[in-house]
Subunit: 533 residues, 2 copies
């Protein structure tokens, strides 16, 4: 079922670029104006893929002329090789674009108005458009499956307002969250979402990113108050005003958060921020088993303690840390949790640590280390922060100089986490692969990262598929924080069922009748799309 | 602009029930099957009201026959006078249904499957359907503007699972949140949302309800993990699996939360729950001015303290409390905040109270009272809990035996709260009315509740409109927690602009092409609808 249909690649290429000649063959109704100025949608509440005709895009040969129209409006358009390469794919993902999945031009708007002007023209001519943010996605979110153009919003990088007493900020889409944190620090404030270094706000919105601090501050869906977005036809909307709470109609804010650029291009957002904890410490606890560690986490939550971070590293990850020597300490090689505990003052943090320690002892902790000062905190947490590099170091030295790592992103309810991790461990043991597990345990979200060599790709993919199926069988999701892109569409279908996907597709078709925005992401929009597996 | 067009009532009645005779007059395309098995939608990303034809519903005379079909499936259908009355309106809202806004039948499904079976038939025959939950809405959410039928989900009232170690519950739509709390208490758990006594989960989802504890636990949008919903055509979907965090496609969960029954009928939900704080106290602080009180709240947040509740009562409300004698204490009649502070133990709560006290003193607090024990806590907080009854008591005795109260629901960013409340105070002083203000200050959400007599309705409405406009001018919302219904549609338009509403309408039309589900709520779906004002 999950076997990649390599033979289908060529048919996908044909679908990717519908030329003028093929128009008569791909008879279509979709997105084409009817004589009454209306478009046609399947009846009923959902849109089944089989009810659609393939989308009809502008012939590739016409795109240069359309770009001239956009340039004439004073909007920057480029197509140098480095620019095209940068917007085609990135080095750190396993899921690569197909050889022909290359954008033709990159558009760099410098305002919401320019995004709107560009989209009006692109929609009129039915040019496929991929919105581009930091380019750090792992799941093919910005692959140009239709060889159209990219709109890169990274030049929209201004912080527009810091409303310190409202604990919110107004930012443009291209602001980097770490840059934002630097600006916020003098106010004693911080952004809640802590993910990859190069993440920009709009990409984090697109995938509903979360990261290390989500067990306390939630994912992006919990941190965006309002967005300004440009719809596929160029209409500019703002989803909400600035109050932290509102029941003003449909929650369009959270419809855009996690929609992966398929419904509109986000150009601005109002985001929540948080006071930097007045006191903070790091506690590292080592356990005889995964079950002990997850039982401990459940009891921490029930005690009312709200750690900022609850990061679980399995014995293999601890081995990589020891191997790499990236921390001064020599760790036991067993399941280990890194807790970050913040509070309003030192006394409160100590009370939290005392209760935490009792819970850990009751759950058979082998070792309990807590930082006595700021320097020790950083030293301790650096083990977690350096995990990725330690893993690469180990893989390159012990497996293959050209080793690759497949990063999974399963999340399950916390009560199922140890069972699933143990079963995943069995799958790994029965395979020729080595792996490590890094879990945002507070969210039940884990990355089982598997080392493999180029020639083992098909085999490792089988293993990953089994892992994801295991997650889904345990009320889980195939993606806790990285999103679907075009790499996990089949798993999304398996996870939520056809009807739920068909509802998403109906909404997509209503908002984007010409199917120009980030085509083929999250779910299929073309019945001739053969899919990934 | 906001003047109610009383003369339009009669034309509305005509629109409300489109009879067979009028079909040829109201030429329509919408929701009617085209010969290709597709429906027609306006081109572009949004749906302007002016681009639509009026909806075409089943003639009223055919509804009894359609009910027979539904009854033959074993589904309960009633139309006794008490049932009809109960589902027509409620006593405690100012916004009453028009005389002809009466449902014809009430359907009581006992399963998701029955909701689906009923909707399939109702959609086929284009019968308008109003979903009904606890019936406590203030904004006309369940008014039968189209004289169709009601689907009452209150019999779906089972708690299906308590996943105590995942801090979630699986409940049917008709579960009452207080009943749920009783069942949760032995587990040391509680539901986060604390609103009106009779609220049921599905209604709280429909309006994105929040209430007293939202400054800590958020509104319903922050507390619903997944919903099971029946779409207008009978399709059953589940939005997500059960992990607390997911990036699995569009956030349909939060599209249903706050959609006021216009997109589907929610029959089940997975909701977050929280540990009951191990230690808790109540602190009451009285201030010389509103500005001092809101400055204090902003500093509390920046200190990192997370109160469970931050309830502001203005001097008029404090006067009503003293007047009614519902608490043993005699209060200063000045702006007063009731804080609830919870924590993992008594030491932590005391540390919070100490810092709170310093902040209050720095903001000129006149009085600072904190509970020494559980009994004092309840006694103190009862002043807030009894506010509504104290207000009614005062109004009945001092204004009119038949006094009415108009409850507003504005929310603004916290930094604008004191300015807006002071300006509202000026509006009140310049009017013939008395009012009180009850604010969920942590959320910037306040209810300015105005006493009026029946014959003053038009005049009080003018005043309320000015208050809402003031809120909107200050980046606010016309509804912090009660929702839009059909009472605030014009304000929603003013708040978010036509394009944002047109996007909501486009989504509505895609999911509900026949416009059968809760017609005329949140925004207009009929160009001949004259509106409220």
């Amino acid at each position: 079922m999950w076997k990649r249909l390599l033979s289908s690649t060529s048919s996908r290429l044909v679908t990717g670029v519908v030329t003028v000649a093929s128009t008569s063959f791909f008879a279509y109704r979709y997105g084409q104006a009817s004589s009454t100025g209306q478009s046609l949608l399947p009846l009923g509440s959902t849109a089944k893929l089989s009810s659609l005709k393939p989308p009809q895009y502008c012939p590739e040969s016409e795109i240069p002329n359309i770009m001239s129209k956009i340039q004439q409006l004073g909007i920057s358009v480029v197509n140098s090789k480095p620019e095209i390469d940068h917007h085609t794919g990135n080095d750190f993902t396993t899921h690569k674009p197909l050889p022909n999945e290359v954008p033709q031009f990159i558009i760099y708007p410098d305002s919401t108005e320019q995004v709107s002007q560009a989209l009006k023209i692109l929609n009129e001519y039915k040019v496929p458009v991929v919105p581009f943010s930091g380019g750090t996605s792992l799941e093919g979110h910005f692959h140009s499956t239709r060889r159209g153009v990219v709109i890169d919003t990274s030049k929209l990088n201004k912080i527009l307002a810091i409303n310190d007493n409202d604990l919110d900020v107004v930012v443009q889409a291209g602001v980097n969250w770490q840059d934002l944190n630097q600006v916020l620090e003098p106010y004693g404030l911080m952004f809640g979402t802590d993910c990859g270094h190069n993440g920009l706000i709009s990409g984090m919105i697109g995938t509903n990113a979360s990261g290390i601090n989500a067990s306390r501050y939630g994912a992006m869906s919990a941190n965006v108050i309002s967005v300004t977005a440009v719809l596929p036809d160029g209409t500019i909307i703002k989803t909400r005003n600035r109050p932290r709470k509102s029941s003003a109609g449909y929650n369009l804010t959270n419809l855009f958060v996690g929609s992966e650029g398929t419904l509109g291009i986000v150009t601005e957002a109002v985001c929540k921020v948080y006071p930097i904890p007045k006191s903070e410490t790091v506690v590292v606890v080592q356990f005889p088993s995964i079950l002990d560690s997850t039982n401990a986490v459940a009891q921490v939550f029930r005690s009312g303690i709200q750690p900022t971070a609850i990061e679980l590293l399995d014995k293999d990850m601890m081995h990589c840390l020891n191997y790499s020597g990236y921390t001064t300490r020599d760790w036991l090689e067993c399941p280990t949790i890194f807790f970050k505990i913040g509070g309003i003052n030192e006394t409160v943090v100590k009370e939290n640590v005392n209760i935490l320690q009792q819970i850990m002892q009751a759950n058979h902790a082998n070792a309990f280390v807590f930082a006595q000062n700021k320097q020790e905190q950083e030293e301790l947490f650096s083990a977690r922060k350096n995990a990725f590099y330690a893993m690469i170091n180990y893989g390159k030295n012990e497996i293959d100089e050209d080793v690759r790592i497949w990063v999974t992103d399963i999340a399950v309810p916390l009560s199922k986490l140890s069972k699933v991790l143990n079963e995943i461990n069995s799958l790994i043991k029965a395979s020729p692969f080595q792996s490590i597990i890094l879990a945002h345990a507070g969210d039940g979200n884990f990355h089982a990262d598997i080392f493999y060599k180029h020639e083992q790709r098909a085999e490792v993919e089988q293993l990953v598929n089994k892992m994801i199926e295991l997650g889904l069988q345990n009320e889980g999701t195939c993606t806790g924080e990285h999103g679907v892109g075009n790499a996990k569409r089949n798993f999304l279908q398996l996870e939520l069922g056809s009807d739920t996907i068909d509802l998403m597709r109906k909404i997509k078709l209503a908002v984007d009748p010409n199917r120009i925005l980030n085509p083929d992401k999250i779910f299929k929009i073309d019945p001739t799309d053969p899919g990934e597996y």
